[in-house]
Symmetry: C2
Subunit: 198 residues, 2 copies
């Protein structure tokens, strides 16, 4: 293709975004250059600022540009509950469900010995400190229901047990609004074994 | 959601890209901040550079950071052919087909009186100058086969006629590799009326 070096370089750079291939990147590049230069400038500024300033909350490891994030510094949050999740996206999902008012701890990963990801890489030393909080009563394990997520949950469950705190795992089952017909065998098996009296 | 201001602002800014909604923007923001800060920096730099330097070729109105783009300044291109397209993406598509070796003219839009887009807004004054080139023999109209694209093509055809140059329109018909069964009626009608002796 005979695109100019700056445009070619922009298209290549845009491909670093997840879900964006060369074709989408080209579409985005042309759109920003032709129709929305102001939007492009806002995007550059926001990204530059975020890359330079956003780090992890020293308390819960959530992405934030503050030292302590809003959830950790809020007085309204229930300090007796701590929900352990794999990623900031999980916090966003739980928050948008508006059904949880406790604190969070973000692993930013999951245990994966094959990839060389050990306890320290997912901040379990920081979590250990959090577990010593006197107000804390229950730890909710909300890692993903994958093999590695399960292994991570088991590992953390052992840590929690040593501190004699309550420890729970979020429920597995059929999605609300889903249909039994389309649920996979493993989910149905968990839904049955996790049945509760009406 | 309890995301920090910088992250919220980044997600909002990323939504200016076509095809990117709030959910994808959040995924991209977390990916860049958590996993690919280097890619994010390259993206910021490339976008900043492109926004500051890329303009339109003064000869064909293609996006380029040079005054005259590579296609216009190339000696290997056939100066007797001029292909008129609506957008830089069309040039990219034609170039990747490797079946055209003439020059281009990019309208960066199409005539649309209802939106207040007239001949000067799509650079037809620049095109008029191009038509005075002695080497030019044929103008190929490759605007999109939409109502506005057709109107634009007719308008330019009249300009070309006045200069007594050959003028052609790209062929309409069934896509190569497509199936007749799934072609729409209008396309089939054009494919029939445009039939050629074998």
């Amino acid at each position: 293709m005979n695109l100019s070096p700056a445009v070619t370089e922009l298209i290549r750079a845009l491909c670093c975004m997840p879900g964006i291939g060369p074709k989408s990147a080209q579409r985005i590049a042309f759109h920003l250059l032709e129709r929305d230069r102001h939007g492009g400038e806002l995007m550059t500024d926001a990204l530059k600022f975020a890359l330079e300033n956003v780090g992890h909350c020293s308390c819960c490891r959530m992405l934030t540009e503050q030292d302590i994030c809003d959830v950790c510094s809020s007085e309204k949050r229930d300090s007796s509950l701590l929900c352990v999740v794999e990623s900031p996206a999980d916090v966003a999902a739980l928050e948008s469900s508006a059904s949880y008012s406790g604190r969070y701890f973000v692993l930013n990963g999951r245990l994966s010995p094959l990839d060389g990801i050990g306890p320290e890489d997912i901040g379990l030393d920081v979590l250990q400190t959090r577990l010593q909080d006197d107000q804390l009563k229950e730890v909710i394990l909300a890692t993903n229901p994958t093999l590695e997520g399960e292994a991570t949950a088991s590992y953390i469950a052992m840590m929690v047990e040593k501190r004699a705190l309550a420890c729970s795992r979020i429920a597995y089952g059929v999605s609300v609004g889903g249909e039994l017909e389309y649920a996979d065998g493993s989910t149905l098996s968990h839904a049955l074994s996790g049945r509760r009296p009406v």
